[in-house]
């Protein structure tokens, strides 16, 4: 109902013999594994600013960024 993001959906796996030994759980139990990828603050800021400026351009506005916010380019 909330517009589930498909990239976040996973099927649970099964704990194999080696994992059971390594992690001290029962073999055959449920296993959830996910590899998270974090974005650096710099990558995030650059993408946010690019998206903002692209959106302004699409609207036909001549803008520049000031402290991360698009403001009119008046010069």
């Amino acid at each position: 109902m909330f517009g589930v993001k498909e990239s976040l959906l996973i099927d649970l796996g099964t704990v194999d013999a080696e994992q059971a030994k390594t992690y001290g759980v029962k073999e055959g139990g449920k296993l959830m594994s996910y590899d998270f990828v974090l974005v650096s603050e710099q990558e995030s800021r650059e993408l946010r600013e690019k998206n903002a400026m692209d959106a302004m351009k699409d609207l036909g506005f001549r803008m520049k960024l000031y402290n991360g916010l698009p403001v009119p380019e008046v010069d």
């Binding site: 109902m1 909330f2 517009g3 589930v4 993001k5 990239s7 976040l8 959906l9 649970l12 704990v15 994992q19 992690y23 001290g24 759980v25 029962k26 139990g29 449920k30 296993l31 959830m32 594994s33 996910y34 590899d35 998270f36 990828v37 974090l38 974005v39 650096s40 603050e41 990558e43 995030s44 993408l47 946010r48 998206n51």
Partner: protein, 164 residues
């Protein structure tokens, strides 16, 4: 009423619209999703391998995860807040007389970017539907269930805050 407002914002997609503008994600990175009203600040910091859920009715689930940057390098020392419901689809805070946190913990990724813990298999549950938001969903003929999920909040200085 505060929770109704969050719910309304969530069901309309407004929360995630704001999140996607403030925290844009390159294609290779993990997408964010709703924080929800059930995060708390009293989860206990636990080492890797901890049993974080103690509901005897829950089906045990081993979780083994990694945290990496967009270049595939492991990130050590990420603070990871984890929370889920019990086997009835209820968070600890939804019970009266809650004495201590359960089905939640704070962990840290190790040198290889790994964190692991023992929990229970998440179950689907309805969002609170006894208020105006519940009525709205009924009028819109939408069900009020969220898919089975576990929440993760990850933070480390230098990285964009992730709630998923």
């Amino acid at each position: 009423m505060l929770q109704e407002f969050i719910l309304l914002s969530d069901i309309l997609g407004l929360s995630l619209l704001v999140d996607s503008i403030d925290h844009p994600k390159p294609p290779s990175s993990t997408e964010g999703t709703v924080l929800g009203p059930f995060h708390t600040h009293d989860a206990i910091s636990e080492p890797n391998g901890t049993q974080i859920a103690h509901d005897p009715q829950g089906e045990p689930c081993l979780a083994v995860c990694t945290v990496k940057d967009t270049e595939g390098k492991p990130i050590e020392g990420v603070k990871i807040d984890i929370w889920e419901t019990d086997s009835n689809g209820k968070y600890d805070v939804q019970y009266e007389g809650r004495e201590q946190p359960d089905q939640r913990a704070v962990m840290h990724s190790d040198k290889e970017g790994v964190f692991w813990f023992k929990a229970i298999v998440p179950v689907p549950y309805p969002i609170p539907n006894d208020g105006p938001v519940g009525k709205l969903l009924k009028v819109l003929k939408r069900h009020c269930y969220r898919p089975s999920h576990m929440h993760f909040m990850m933070e480390k200085p230098g990285f964009d805050h992730l709630i998923t």
